[in-house]
Symmetry: D2
Subunit: 286 residues, 4 copies
């Protein structure tokens, strides 16, 4: 599927501010970048950094006081790998590649160590595999209210669980935490999300099953086969779309994604399991 | 300086257990490995993984029920970079390399976001540079009691601060958290530590100042120029010397390090700032 | 029903220790104390304090270094008020007596403010009345494991909820917290508990419904009509059976309760709602 | 000293709301109420409750939808007990009256159990007596920023300590927590405060020393001998000036206190220790 997507961000810079942006689509085999433009006003010097472990594309800019805006546009061709969920098993820890094992560890917002008893009690006896992670998503969807304003940038998965509310970030943190607590590697994914209303940056998570990373969205607000990855990380701390150091105010923020192949959105949510790892599973972290 | 060092670990394995060990010395320009042996009993298949971002050497072993032991021995030549602390300034965030910036983010046990007001209140007005991080170490040393048994594997920096007690892991987490809260990149370091009594794995931290990572030990229990690095990470979660998945009991653990060049320990702690980055600062993550 | 009950507590006192004990049965209309003896060895001076709000009987003793033991024995006649649970409604807050309203407030271990979203999500839509509190007990019983060693004297209701485990103290804290979060006054009760195996001090809770305090035991380990009250309070902090200030070691602790009227225990748990408020509901705090 | 004082509170009631107010001055021997009026608009039925342990005066009102206002005015003669701080010692726990001992226990917002290591490390070795509690106030004043908006109704003492900021409520919670952690009974006090700018309800704390409750204000924003007590409790949960159950919006709130004896405010803060217990120390809870 072909998408045009992008974002327009503008800020009122009160004093020198260093921004780290993570808004460009990831370089994946499954994600062909047909065209891509990034415009800064003023046109300041850019620094690029691609993390060697996760291949996230970071953009660093030092911005002086005044107005600042960023516009990003891309057209991409997304190919997803599909499979019957019933055929996807969990990978025993003893067979996990060593570079996957760090995604079993707790991280700042994914307090999987604290949530281990909770996860074991709710899902420990559930049949294993893709269906178990799907059951986790159902549980989160049924037990939490999607409610902007209930969390902030310091909210952890265990706190969200008690608050019974959150946004996509929090839903993804809980899903990630429950997976790790059950011995299933899981990681946080930021993306452009087709079908999300209103359009915004979205957060979902991936679980590592049967040698491949599979996408899950506990909010059920977007099409799983319409998620165009930006970054992947241990949790939201690593891949915030904007990390500013300085004194500034966001002014405007617009995120967009649309089909560009003249084809409509699928009439209903796919029942397939969806992965963006192509063609062979597990070729490094990408 | 030349050291012989190593560890002997033994376990009673109750059921199949997957171990991830991080006990081999790091591959650094400043750390020449003259010889190295690693013996497993039984001699099980080993998997090796070196993390692309931080160059940690992980060893994975699947161990069946029964007795299991690991013995590691190495001889190394450690060369440290020394400088007058008074000459070492902080690097403004706007000049930090992008691959260093992740070490400003909070992580599972380094809750720097929660500790920002505390750090700003105590050290915000302190003259910047190596001396500020040294002041942080002095503060930790003066305000916390080194006391085994006061923390466990889930204790975070903010919790340690309220408990006013901890072990090397906790001292390093607080130091790392305070630095990050002040805009100074910092990371957790595990090592063999000459001078530590009783001998054990040790944890210290590094702060990024003037384009280079510098070592700090808030416990003041070891020689800064006698720290032989094993791993480096966001916090203790990433570089535990042993991460077991399964059912087992540790039986014995012995860690050792000694000078092997016939020279004695320095009579008193050095007043130099110490770094293991050689010769040019900041050549990648190592 | 008539019971003989009591406890034997012994301590090794290392240095002067002040004890506050709360182990004597409460003075209630429903609880006739037929006989009562309290023996201290050595026979130290006793101070008695009965709290004016809750009528708890506290015993204060200053104990010098050496051996110390306390033996308490009583025979009591307990009369309970029974009603059909289906007939017991909740009392709207607007009709609650003012002296009952403090039991809607959060307290140290009953973090009802933090648990309000959780309680509302699980029980907000449940039909009101005795059956709603019973549903809370069922939920706790089904979702938590009774497991000594999983909590300590600082564990709060929200922490127990994440740990999915606890002892009677924790089960009672969660029940109390959920009730308060739903606008139902609730308080913590310590007692001698007929039917509890092994015999020990027990903790349950009371909810205020239809003008009367009703007993609930989320652990389901004792007979509701065999609970002989010791103390009642906001949470465990107020009515610990022993609060020592000093340096001492518990040596032995034995708690006992038995029917003394020659009648056996009821063959199965009663389906009645049970209250110890007699005869008219709500006559002060008793 | 004679004061006129009072408050005017108004609310927009969206649906039936039950209010518990705690705004009337306490009935103390040291506080003669010369006149007192309380006006409700509309003039709804009032319920009065005076807590038997602490003698707080609670006012309950059920308010229907619409506008609601409360006006309270009083003239009082306040007599304080003064002493040289240097003469005031701590009371050993073994000599504390049993009705004072509950004020050593942790409560919802006064997490003295968690803060014990911190309090012992900072003040454990400090000379005992009034001066130690004064040192606690100095510490709080020096280490925390008085800053509205940094805390909310669920903030605990340990959280405030990490935030290094708060309002009078938080300063009083930390002072109370440190005292209890050191074995000094302490309680939370709400009051009208002469000298406070801008005028507002104020929160301070009392510590029990040498058989008497002494006033302390870690914010140092009001005159210690101009504090007219409203309520006293374990912490802010018990004596909120307004506890509403229902749906309403505060519209306006005005608090006032002035000297009415024609005498000015003292030119500088008294160096005396101040207590409102008269004439003999420790006659019950008043």
């Amino acid at each position: 599927m072909r998408y045009t997507l992008g974002c327009s961000l503008s800020y009122n810079i009160l004093s020198d501010t260093t921004f780290i942006f993570n808004i460009q689509v990831a370089r994946l085999k499954s994600l062909e970048i047909l065209s891509e433009t990034l415009t800064l006003k003023p046109d300041l010097k850019r620094e690029i950094y691609i993390s060697p472990d996760l291949q996230n594309r970071y953009l660093g800019v030092n911005v002086p006081a005044g107005q600042f805006s960023l516009e990003y546009n891309a057209e991409v061709e997304l190919t997803v790998h599909r499979a019957d969920p019933a055929t996807i098993n969990e990978t025993p820890i003893s067979q996990l590649p060593l570079d996957i094992l760090p995604f079993l560890l707790p991280s700042r917002f994914v307090s999987s160590d604290r949530l281990t008893p909770f996860a074991q009690a709710e899902f420990g006896a559930h049949p294993k595999g893709h269906q178990r992670v799907n059951a986790i998503c159902n549980w989160i969807h049924d037990h939490l209210t999607y409610q902007p304003g209930t969390s902030d940038g310091e909210t952890t998965a265990d706190e969200s669980l008690l608050k019974r509310a959150g946004v996509c970030r929090d839903f993804a943190h809980i899903g990630t935490a429950f997976c790790r607590a059950l011995g299933i590697p899981a990681r946080f994914v930021s993306c452009y999300a087709h079908g999300l209303v209103p359009s915004d940056f979205h957060a979902v998570f991936e679980a590592y099953l049967d040698g491949r990373w599979w996408l899950f969205d506990a909010t059920r607000q977007a099409d799983l086969d319409g998620l165009v990855r930006i970054g992947v990380g241990r949790d939201a701390a690593e891949i915030a779309f904007s990390t500013p150091y300085g004194n500034m105010q966001p002014v405007n923020q617009q995120i967009r994604i649309a089909r560009s192949d003249g084809l409509g959105s699928p009439p209903q949510r796919t029942v397939d399991a969806i992965s963006t790892e192509l063609p062979a599973p597990h070729a490094g972290a990408a």
